[in-house]
Subunit: 111 residues, 2 copies
């Protein structure tokens, strides 16, 4: 079975769904997507990017220099989208089951 995908990794892939981005843009995008609940750390980000590239879930999408600042773009691959979908389904089934159990427990208390 596949390993669980951690939260920062999940959000990185999610942020790339709307198009290729460079590292720094991913940090602000993840903050937005998580309603500021998660601050993507730089160490986490570049580590995750290397790992995801090795796994084929993201790929380099060119680099440019914008007003003197270097930008490296990455994009999500088809495998990356599939992995996100699989993880999403996994979260969903977990969430549904725990919600059912929590509800049943509350009913049990009430009766």
């Amino acid at each position: 079975m596949n390993k669980e995908m951690r939260e920062p990794t999940f959000f990185v892939l999610m942020a790339l769904l709307s198009g290729p981005k460079h590292g720094y843009a991913l940090i602000t995008e993840v903050a937005f997507l998580s309603d500021n609940a998660l601050t993507l750390q730089v160490g986490t980000l570049y580590g995750a990017l290397d790992r995801l590239q090795k796994e084929g879930l993201v790929s380099q999408s060119g680099s440019e220099i914008v007003s003197g600042r270097h930008r490296r773009y990455v994009e999500i691959t088809e495998d990356g989208v599939n992995a996100l979908e699989a993880e999403s389904a996994r979260l969903r089934s977990r969430e549904l089951r725990v919600t059912a159990m929590l509800t049943q427990r509350r009913i049990g208390f009430a009766s």
Copy 2:
């Protein structure tokens, strides 16, 4: 902000919703709850139990000897239930957002 709860930890708390259990029973219960998708490792289990007890999310619920075998029971606390509920809500919002983005991306491709 609170840290993410890892999958094995999540399932341990979830398995305890239906009542106090001892370690070994948790292994079979987690396998059942996850449709055999997750095999809770012994090292993970007893490590998690120690940690969760220190955090006050589970508590010792007596121990007995059944047919010569030692059993230590643990039960989930109110804080434990609350933590599970919070994590469940977190998963849900993540899942909803990523599903929306995945759908939108597919629509974008179709048009």
